[in-house]
Structure formats: C-alpha cells, structure tokens
C-alpha cells in the first residue's frame, strides 16, 4: 500500500478527548491530594493499514495513551472507538473478543516475557485463552509465528533468559501476532535495543505489516526511527497532542514550535553543516500542576500573551495537518 492509498482508508481506531489523571495519595488516610494529568483531552484517529508514529519526551503520556487504548490502564474520561465500537464502555465479557484484534509490544524485552515459561508457551498463551484450535495446532501456530520473526522450532522450548534482547523482542512480537490482530500498539519496541538490532526489528515489523495488513500505533522518542516507519506522526507534549500530520509535512514544515525544536535537535552526521537550532530553555513543567493556557508557553520561543491565558484548540489548519498553537493560524 502506498501512502496515497493509505490516506483514503477508513479509520480503524478513533480516540476522542481521552483523559487520564493519576491520583496522588498521601497522609494517613491515603486521601487524594493531587492529580497527575498524564493525558489530557487527546484526540486522534488511526487509519486501517497505516502506522501512526507518536513521539514526545519522557513523561509526556505516550505510553499511557497506548495502554489506555487496550484498557490496561482505565481512563478517566473520553472515548475510544475500534471499528465503530466504544472500547472504553465495554464490560470484561465484551472486551475479551476484542483482545484478539488489539495487541501490544512492550519496550523492555527483559521484563515482557515470563522468566519461568518456555517461550513457545508464551507465544501460545493467547491461543489457549481464546480456545483457538487443539493443543497440537496451537503449538504449530506458535512455531509458525516464531519462524515468521526469524526464530527456529527448537527455540520454542527454551526459556527467555537464553535469548538476547533482540531475540526476546521478536518473541514479544510473535506473541502479539499469534492471535492474528488487526491493530498493534508498539510501545517503544526498539528503544531498549542497540542500533544494529533496531533496524532488524523495525524491518520485521514492516514486513509483518504488509503480510498481515496490520495497523500500528508506534510510540517512540527517537525521531529518525519514527520517520523510518510511520505514515503519519503525532507529537505529544505534557499530556497534550500538539501536532499531527503525515510524515513528509511534519519533517519538512513543522508548524508547532515544539515540533520545530524537536526536529532541530536531530544531529546531522556532517561536520560542516550548520543550521538554526531552536534550543528550549528550562525543563518540562510538572504534570501535577501544568501551566495555564498553552502548556508549552513557558518554554515557547514565540509565545504571546494570549498563550498564557487561553488554551489553543487542536485544529486542522491545512487538510490533514492538525496543530494546537495560536501562532499557527
């Protein structure tokens, strides 16, 4: 599928004003004294067959968004529609069949596999839970999946500690794929791997996407990785989505000052190239007490008075290009 074709696809997943506040408890009675505003009114859609990259620095709420979509974290408010059905309103019984369609790949390959379970069994687990096939068929499906990610049949009886980080990440991919899902949240799947292994895992993800027609939400903090794999890219800052557009527009003409600063931070491996760098001052404010108005105004190089008073809306400024900034209008 080329990019034009993907743009025409219908939405597989629609996220509408997703909110997640984590309570902070303190004192003897464990009363809620404050809220961490991890994700605040985030809206976006993922088209069938595309890869939506999601970037932002640590603690900006990327992972929380990904896990909330799968109900691994219960959201505070908002709606998530998967193929038209509201995921967040489902009971446990309705949720179970949905688990076959939505899967997740984790960041840390050392923590994402049960150390006391042979990896073949880990890959088989989903099939067992959903009662797919007889035990023998399950085993065969599991081995098939392992082969798809470049492992062999004899690996299936080994334990996670016998594998390298890259191999384990591929086992995690095989486990997610075994249920034949439509949508996979890739939660920083290559951040913990070294560079040579990163490209290997990314290529496996790409190959599997074209083979099975998968849709990815690809969470990362590495902009070049996101550029390599994504069709569209969303940028998050302090629990808010600040910009969302297709890959080319984002990397060629970013409209939000935060995106511009992020892109200018990508090193260029050439000693003579000099360029304008937007260097942000200060630190990310605490999500416990985010700034009023635009959350970025405390560090924004082009902020105006209005920015500290009113919050800019996340609007479609050009076709397919969404930005939340007063100056971008």
């Amino acid at each position: 599928m080329d990019t034009m074709n993907k743009q025409a696809q219908p939405d597989l997943l629609v996220v509408d004003k997703l909110v997640k506040y984590f309570p902070v408890r303190s004192g003897l009675l464990q009363r809620v004294t404050a809220w961490v505003q991890a994700v605040d009114k985030v809206s976006f859609a993922v088209k069938r067959g595309e890869t939506l990259g999601m970037v932002g620095e640590s603690g900006c709420g990327k992972t929380t968004v990904g896990r909330t979509l799968l109900r691994l974290i219960e959201p505070t408010a908002g709606d998530v529609y998967f193929e038209g059905k509201n995921v967040l309103k489902m009971g446990q019984r309705e949720l179970k069949p949905l688990r076959r369609d939505m899967q997740i790949i984790f960041q840390d390959p050392y923590a994402s596999l049960n150390p006391r379970m042979p990896i073949g069994e880990s890959v088989m687990e989903g099939l067992q839970i959903h009662n797919i096939g007889r035990p023998k068929e399950r085993w065969e499906i599991a081995i098939n999946m392992l082969k798809k990610v470049g492992l062999e049949e004899y690996h299936a009886r080994r334990y996670p500690h016998e594998f390298s980080g890259g191999q384990r990440q591929r086992i995690g991919i095989a486990r997610a794929l075994a249920l034949n899902p439509k949508f996979i949240v890739c939660d920083e799947p290559v951040s913990a791997l070294d560079v040579s292994i990163q490209s290997q895992v990314l290529n496996i993800l790409k190959d599997l996407q074209s083979e099975f027609g998968l849709t990815y939400l690809f969470i990362a903090h590495n902009l070049s990785v996101v550029e390599h794999i994504s069709d569209r890219v969303a940028v998050m800052y302090l629990g808010k989505m600040v910009e969302l557009t297709d890959r080319e527009s984002l990397y060629r003409e970013p409209l939000h000052p935060y995106t511009q600063a992020l892109l200018s931070a990508i090193p260029i491996p050439h000693p003579n190239v000099k360029r304008d760098r937007t260097i942000l001052k200060g630190d990310v404010p605490s999500p416990l007490n985010p700034p009023k108005g635009c959350r970025f105004h405390t560090r924004c190089p082009i902020a105006i008075d209005k920015c500290s008073q009113e919050e800019p809306e996340f609007k479609e400024i050009k076709p397919g290009h969404w930005v939340a900034c007063w100056k971008a209008e």
Binding site: R67, L70, L72, L95, K96, R99, R100, M102, Q103, I104, F106, Q107, D108, A111, S112, L113, N114, P115, R116, M117, S122, E125, G126, I129, H130, E152, E153, Y154, R157, Y159, H161, G172, R175, L179
Partner: protein
C-alpha cells in the same frame, strides 16, 4: 549454512521430555539434596513399617531394666519405664512426621493462595488481609497455642485412634498460625510482579485474573516459599515438642520425638544418649528437608544452569 541446518535438525529431533523428568534430572545434580531425599525416604519407610521393624512393643513397661544402657537386647537402651527406646523412636516418627508435613504443606498452601489474592487484588482486599495477618503476628504464639490446645483437648475425631485425633487437632492449631509468613512473602512478590510487562501482556491477551495468578504470579513467587517451607518442616517438630512438654501436645505414653526429648531431661547427665537419639532424628529430618528445599528451588529456576 549447512552447519546451521544440521544443527537445527538435530536439535529439533531431540525427544520431548516431560516437565517432571527435567526437574528430576536437575534435582539429582544437587548432591546434598539427594542425600537429604534418601534420609527422608528412610524416615518415612521407618514410620510406615514401624510395627514390623520395632523389636519391642513401645508401650510395654518393664521396670527392672529402667534406664538401662544400650545392649544387644535394647540397642539404644531403655527409658525410665524400661520401654525400648529404639521401638519408641520408630513409632514416634509416625506422629512427628505426619504433624510437621501436614502443618507445613497446608500452611504454605493457604499462605500462597491468600498472599497472591491479597497482593494481586490490592485495595481493600489487601488492607483487610494484611491487617488480619499483622494482628495475628503480634499475638504471642506460645500462650495462644496453649490456649487453643487446652480448649480443643477434650475434642476427639470419631473413628480415629486417640493419638491420631490428637495429632490432627494439634496440626489444626499449628496451621492456624502457620500461614502468616508465607502470606506476607507471596504478597510481596506478587506486588512487584503485578506491574511487570509480562503480566500486562497476559492481560492484553485477555487472560483472566485466575490464570494470571496461577500461571504468572505463583510460579514466579515460589522460591522464598520453598525456603520458608523447608525451615518450617524442622521448626514444627520442635514446636510440637514444646507443646508436648507443657502437657498440651501429644502426651505420653504416645511417643513423639518432641515428648521423648522432653521426658529425659532429668537424666541428661547420667544417660545423655537418651536425649541424643530423638534430637538426632529431629536434626536429621529438618536438615534433610532443608537440603531438599534447596535442591528443589534450584531445580525449578530455569535461569540456573545445573
């Protein structure tokens, strides 16, 4: 490439082994555990066939040779009432082993279940269970055990000989306080496991709470429980001895290693072997269980190369 193919073919044709065979093979690499296993099997064998192996009736009194030294007729001598010590030791192993095994296995099982529930579900379930455990842990054990044993002393279980019904009642009292440590150990493990990605992955696959607890939580939190169990196996024999000494456990003439040990304390200086034999039995049993536990814990951990 040819080499790699050959490699994968030979490896994949290796016969599948059942889990028990693998664990068994890993277990026998631990030499001391095997020795411990042999000792425990000998004790169990002696307990089962005590009536065949014992040269004398353990209850038959014969006042003439009381406190006699070891001799060809009485290989370990006789006690204050002229009863054969060797025969009494054999019969004593029945009740001592039965009580300690029953108390520990039941106690640890309850502990694992309650602890996993407490840690996994958290919130008010956890608070409630932990407050109960903390409350029970603050109570002084021995007076409480005495109180309960005294209360239950009159009760017998119909259809069982008196000493067995007493043994079961003592066991129940000990179980009532035997699950606390295991509960706290497992709860702690489960609390840290709950946030791990592989548990999140299982949830994302749609696994039920029951499945997550039994397949992911419990197998990963067993190591400290096994250690606790093996320490307890020796501990309960001694605790039963203490209760028996105070007259609330299994009382003479029924022999247990504990009450035999307590019985001879006035003659400790004249005939020290009378205390030595039951002491040795308790010592060997608890040491053997300890090594078995060690071996089992290592055999069950796939990360260890054995």
């Amino acid at each position: 490439m040819a080499v790699a193919q050959l490699d994968s073919e030979t490896l994949s044709t290796i016969k599948e082994e059942s889990w028990f065979v693998i664990i068994g093979r890993r277990f026998i690499r631990h030499k001391l555990a095997v020795v411990g296993m042999v000792f425990v099997l000998v004790f169990i064998f002696a307990a089962i066939f005590a009536n065949v192996l014992a040269p004398y009736d353990p209850y038959k009194q014969n006042l003439a040779p009381s406190y006699s030294n070891p001799s060809p007729e009485h290989i370990l001598g006789t006690d204050e009432l002229g009863r054969d010590v060797f025969s009494r030791l054999l019969y004593a192993s029945r009740i001592s082993l039965f009580v300690t095994v029953l108390v520990n296995f039941t106690g640890e099982t309850i502990g694992v279940i309650v602890g996993a529930t407490s840690g996994y579900f958290g919130k008010w379930v956890d608070s409630l269970i932990q407050r109960i455990v903390e409350f029970l842990l603050t109570l002084p054990t021995l007076p409480l055990l005495l109180f309960f044993s005294a209360m239950l002393r009159g009760i017998t279980i119909p259809g069982l000989p008196d000493e067995w019904s007493k043994a079961i009642i003592i066991s129940l009292v000990l179980i009532a306080f035997g699950w606390l440590t295991a509960t706290r150990l497992v709860r702690g493990m489960v609390l840290s496991l709950r946030e791990q990605d592989f548990v999140q992955a299982a949830r994302a696959l749609g696994a039920s709470d029951w499945k997550i607890i039994t397949k992911h939580m419990i197998p990963n939190s067993l190591a400290p429980v096994i250690v606790n169990l093996t320490l307890g196996l020796g501990g309960v024999i001694v605790l039963e001895a203490a209760l028996s000494f105070l007259g609330f456990g299994i009382t003479p003439p029924v022999p247990t290693w504990g009450n035999m040990l307590q019985n001879v304390q006035e003659r400790m200086w004249q005939q020290p072997w009378l205390a030595f034999y039951p002491g040795l039995c308790i010592f060997l049993t608890s040491l053997s269980f300890n090594y078995i536990g060690d071996g089992l814990r290592d055999a069950l951990d796939p990360r260890l190369k054995l």
